[in-house]
Each structure stands twice: as C-alpha cells, then as structure tokens.
C-alpha cells in the first residue's frame, strides 16, 4: 500500500482503537516499519485519542494503587522465597489472588471427592473380595463334591459293576444299601446313603459271607462331614455269597456282634 493510502484509509485509526482485523494489523505494521510518516501519523492519532480519553478520566479511590503494589510485591517476595523459608511469626498476611484461591478451593473439593470415591471403591473392592472368597470356597466345595459324585457315578455306570441290593432287616426295616461288585477287578463298593445315621460311638461295618462265614469287609464312613453318602471302596473278596451290614462299636469287630441292618445275596 502506498504511503498516502495507508494514512488516508482510516486503518491507523482502527489500529489505534485496537479493532483492526489481523490482516489490517499486519498492513499497518508493515507501513510503520516502511514509512516514518505512518509511524508519526499513528502517534498523532494515539495522542489525540489519549487526550479524548483523558477528558473522561475518573480518579480511582486512593486504596487501589496500594492494593496493586501490595499484590505485585507479594508475587515478587514469593519469587524470592523459592527455598521454602518457614513463615516468620507475625509476618504479613499474603493476599493470594482470586485465581489461586479458586484453584486451591477446587483442589480441596477434588481431593475430598477423590477420598470419598476411594473409600467407596475400597468398600466395593473388599466386598467383592469377600464375595470372591465365598465363591471360591463354594466352588471348591462343589468341585470336591463333584469329584466324589463323579467317582460314584463311574462305579455305578461301569459296565463291569454288578449291583447287589441289601434290604432292611429287623433292626431297621426301612434301611437299604447297595453293593457294586466289579467283575473285572473284584473291587467292592458300597452306597450307604439309605442307612440311618449311626448313633454316637457306633459305626457300620460290612461283612461278606464266604463259605458261610462272615468276613470283615471294612468300616463304612457315615459320620464324617460330606462323606455320609459317598459311594466308598471296601475290601475285596474272592467268592462271596452274601453281604451284610451291622452296627458295631467304633473301629469295628473281628466278628459281627451288633444287629444286622441290611443284607442281600449275590
């Protein structure tokens, strides 16, 4: 732009008022750099405006200047005291500016919110942890039970197992038990789930009748927790004619002494 055009365009006036667009500002700044006359004209415009603005000046209250200086001095002191000197007793109270006050307030609010959230999260976590423990224990128990049941099922479902029903006798007409005799291995299993609970101090004992004589078949576990209904392996025999279960004193006897609960022939 030519010198006279810049001056007469009104751009300088807009520039001085601070309302020139970015593009216009660049034009003016180029003009200032290029022509001293443009700089001088801008100065005259600015001076005129200063006089105009001054005509409407209002003297501020006396305290304003003091506040400004105390504020800039506080900041200056803050800069100098970077080594974190401890506060001298009776030291001047520092006027922290609003932004920092708000920032501090916001930080406190956020901190409290965060702590609250942490507590809630912690409770939720420990609750979940407890639940997990319970679930794990339950699962463990179930797995154990499942294993036992599976073992039992294997016995029952095996193509070699021969079931023998033992029926309730005089001592317990309602009782029943089942023997599973494995043809291939000769193993003997018993399902005691339909025997009544053995009284304190007593235990069921299995007997196999071989050549008309009772032979000890082992103690049946009914009172141990979780073991009551388990299909359990007993002693093996050669040729068996019949099975019987009697209620004996704990740990059993050499020959049957207690009453016969159930009995069945092969």
């Amino acid at each position: 732009m030519k010198l006279q055009d810049i001056i007469s365009s009104g751009l300088l006036e807009l520039y001085a008022a601070g309302i020139a667009t970015e593009e216009e500002m660049l034009e003016v700044e180029e003009g200032i750099a290029q022509y001293p006359e443009v700089a001088a004209e801008l100065k005259a415009i600015s001076s005129g405006m200063e006089a105009y603005v001054n005509a409407y000046a209002i003297v501020p209250a006396a305290g304003v200047k003091e506040k400004i200086f105390s504020q800039i001095n506080t900041v200056e002191n803050g800069k100098r005291n970077t080594v974190g000197k401890s506060q001298v007793p009776g030291a001047k109270v520092i006027d922290i500016n609003t932004f920092w006050k708000l920032t501090a307030a916001a930080s406190v609010v956020l901190l409290i919110a965060s702590i609250g959230l942490n507590i809630i999260t912690y409770y939720k976590y420990s609750e979940a942890d407890k639940n997990l423990l319970v679930a794990t224990q339950t699962l463990g128990g179930l797995e154990e039970k499942n294993k036992i049941m599976e073992a039992g099922m294997n016995v029952v479902q095996s193509k070699y197992s021969v079931p023998v029903s033992l029926k309730g006798q005089q001592a317990a007409p309602g009782a029943a038990a089942k023997i599973f005799w494995m043809q291939n291995t000769g193993e003997v299993f018993i399902d005691p789930s339909n025997l009544p609970e053995a009284p304190e101090g007593k235990q069921y004992q299995l007997w196999a009748f071989v050549d008309g004589k009772p032979v000890d078949g082992g103690m049946i576990l009914t009172s141990t927790k979780g073991d009551k209904y388990r299909i359990q392996k007993m002693k093996s025999f050669g040729k068996v004619e019949a099975f019987a279960v009697t209620l004996e004193t704990e740990k059993g006897n050499q020959s049957p002494k207690g009453p016969i609960y159930v009995m069945g022939n092969m």
Binding site: E13, L14, A51, V53, N54, A55, Y56, I72
Partner: protein, 183 residues
C-alpha cells in the same frame, strides 16, 4: 514521597521492562484515571471499575514483556488491554449493558464528583472543546474506543456499510485532532 519524576515514553518502557516499581508508580499516577474512566464507561459501577482497574495494572505489570514498542504507543496498548479486560468481565458476569451512546452527561456528572487535583489534564476545558465534535463523529469514536465494538458491530449500530467504517473513523478522529490540536 519523592518528587514525581518525569519520564519520556521510551525511558518508561525500558524501566518497566526491568520491572522498575518507581516507573510503575509513575505509570499509575499518569494513566490510572484515564483507564478508570474507560472502564467506568463500560461497566458503570465505581467499585467494579476499580476492581477491574486493579486487575488491569497487575496484568500490565506481569505482561509488560508482551508490549511491542514498534507497534504503537504504550497508552494505546494499556487502553486496549484494559478495555478488553472490562469487556471480558462484563461478558463473564453475564452483564448486558445497554450502549449509552449519548450518555456523556452521566460521565460528566460523575467526573465532577470524583475529580481531584491529581488530574493533570484540563478535563473540563477539553470537554468543552469536544462539544464541537459532531454527534455522528463522536458516536463512531466512542463505539470503537470505549465500547470496543468491532467494525462490523459499528456498521450495524449506526447503520452504515462496513466499508465506510474506516473512512468515518478517519474523518471523526481528524476532526478530534483538529479540535485538540494534535495534528
């Protein structure tokens, strides 16, 4: 109190760049009233004006390094900074001030209440001279300098094409300068 030192603008700028508090004190003494007047015309509240004025001077002190002497006078820079701060404050507080284009009488009355001997300018005399300025010239100056209107807003406010805002400004300020003898 020391005798007020008289600084040239160049000297003042150099001292302020070095964060010289005495120079800053001089700056305040010489320009606070003018800047306060600008703020008051925007916010029309004495206490709020002074709060903004305080904030403006803190900003001037802290951001002095961003003042570029080659781009214009110090006062113009301070005036724009102050005005923008006042406008931002009005916006942030949700104010919707009506543009008092012919509200000069208000300012005059207010000025008589608050003027003091600190005022180095012959305000009354200048204002008397300024009454020679035509109203449509005065409006364009006021909208730009005091209200911080964009060119677009000025055009809409006084109902002229955008392209003539520049020339209208030029004519008005030339007249102002003629009256005040800043030629």
């Amino acid at each position: 109190m020391e005798v007020t030192q008289k600084y040239g603008e160049d000297e003042l700028v150099i001292l302020l760049q070095k964060q010289d508090q005495q120079a800053f004190s001089y700056l305040y003494d010489n320009y606070a009233s003018a800047l306060n007047g600008i703020i008051f015309r925007l916010v029309e509240d004495k206490t709020l004006s002074e709060d903004i004025l305080q904030e403006a001077f803190i900003k001037i002190w802290n951001n002095f390094s961003s003042y570029d002497k080659s781009k214009g006078r110090l006062f113009t820079w301070m005036m724009n900074l102050t005005r923008n701060l006042a406008i931002d404050t009005l916006r942030s507080k949700g104010y919707k001030k009506q543009n008092k284009i012919s509200g000069d009488e208000n300012s005059v009355n207010n000025l008589q209440d608050t003027s003091s001997g600190m005022d180095k300018f012959d305000s009354m005399g200048i204002r008397k001279q300024l009454s020679n300025l035509k109203p449509d010239q005065r409006i364009v100056i006021d909208l730009a300098y005091f209200n911080g209107f964009t060119q677009d807003e000025i055009a809409k406010e006084i109902g002229i094409p955008l392209g003539t805002v520049k020339t209208r400004m030029r004519t008005a300020i030339l007249e102002l300068r003629r009256i005040l003898q800043y030629t």
